[in-house]
């Protein structure tokens, strides 16, 4: 009888382990599965809520800009970049674009430091070759160009020259990123998304 008991226990443990592995495979869930690879999260309500709020705030900024209220536009976009953000690639890209727009607005206001902060914050969000990164590098190039002009006006010729060189380098980097994106898109046969 003891032997039978051990046999039953062994079969029970084997069965439980088998059911566990089967559950890992059959539910498409990686939670609790030992060899599961980290997967991208699905498009869900949290992501959509973020995108919806971002869309509303961009359009709100449009209205402020059209009314000549640049500070109002900045305030709307500051709210956007402060939104609670779910972890998703789309979120990073949308935030990078919002930081680029904020940087442009700060640049128009002559606030180079604020513009620089937003450019750097945006570049932290998008590391790979995308139009989002390319656009941020482009804005950074414009920022350095503006800095060079301000330095030249201040009679600081050497510093202005260095700022111009940085601007050229950044704009060139932006072009390279855009070219890589185009090359990859062509290699993919123009596949959408």
């Amino acid at each position: 009888m003891r032997g039978f008991g051990w046999l039953v226990l062994a079969i029970a443990l084997t069965g439980a382990a088998g059911l566990g592995v089967a559950a890992c495979r059959s539910e498409g869930s990686s939670a609790g599965c030992p060899s599961a690879q980290p997967a991208a999260p699905p498009v869900d309500e949290a992501l959509m809520a973020f995108l919806s709020a971002a869309r509303a705030l961009h359009h709100e900024a449009d209205l402020h800009e059209r009314a000549g209220d640049r500070q109002g536009a900045v305030a709307s976009l500051e709210r956007l970049v402060a939104l609670p953000a779910p972890r998703a690639v789309e979120v990073d890209e949308v935030l990078a674009d919002a930081h680029a727009r904020l940087a442009e607005l700060h640049l128009q206001q002559g606030n180079l430091e604020a513009a620089d902060r937003d450019v750097q914050a945006g570049l932290e969000r998008v590391k790979g070759p995308t139009y989002f990164r390319g656009h941020l590098l482009e804005v950074e190039g414009l920022l350095e160009e503006a800095r060079a002009g301000a330095l030249a006006d201040a009679g600081k010729a050497d510093e202005a020259s260095r700022a111009r060189a940085r601007a050229v380098g950044l704009l060139e980097e932006a072009v390279q990123v855009q070219e890589r994106v185009i090359d990859r898109a062509l290699a993919d046969g123009g596949r959408d998304d």
Binding site: V21, P41, V43, R55, E90, E93, D97, Y131, F132, L142
Partner: protein, 168 residues
């Protein structure tokens, strides 16, 4: 005078008419009660009844009959309880075997069904780069971009919801 209850003495030396000891009296009382009440367990009473029946068989009284039946049923109940324990252990063993077989079936079947699930896979979070075939304009266009992203992902979310509800 010596003690008549002294059993160490030779039987021939025993005095037949000696008075019963307290122990003998107690045993006699227990036997008498067991003979009156057949439900009381007593080997001597059973032996006495057997001898009596062998000498002069007679019908069992209703009370005796009931007591014997109850005794028999009690013994049978004990046996059944033991059997039930065995049946439970065997049932458990069979259930475990069935569970193990089901697990193996799911493992094998899961591999076969993988392509079908891939078809119904949910839309996952990914770069929106593919939504933009051309480089961004140097200035402006942010609202148009977020419009396109939101519309595309809203369609993805709808697909995911339908897939979750089993509608395809």
């Amino acid at each position: 005078m010596s003690d008549p209850r002294d059993r160490s003495r030779h039987p021939d030396d025993l005095e037949v008419d000696a008075p019963a000891s307290e122990e003998e009296q107690a045993q006699a009382e227990a036997l008498r009660e067991a003979l009156e009440d057949p439900t009381r367990p007593s080997e001597q009473a059973e032996l006495a009844r057997a001898v009596s029946s062998a000498w002069a068989p007679r019908d069992l009284s209703a009370e005796t009959h009931r007591a014997l039946v109850e005794q028999a049923l009690r013994r049978d109940e004990g046996r059944r309880r033991k059997q039930r324990g065995s049946v439970i252990r065997v049932s458990f063993g069979v259930s475990v075997l069935v569970a193990a077989a089901a697990a193996v079936f799911l493992l094998v079947e899961g591999d076969h069904q993988a392509p079908a699930r891939a078809v119904a896979a949910v839309a996952i979070s990914r770069s929106t780069q593919g939504l933009f075939p051309d480089p961004f304009a140097p200035t402006g266009g942010e609202s148009a971009r977020i419009d396109r992203i939101a519309v595309a992902r809203a369609a993805d979310l709808r697909d995911n919801e339908f897939a979750r509800w089993g509608i395809r």
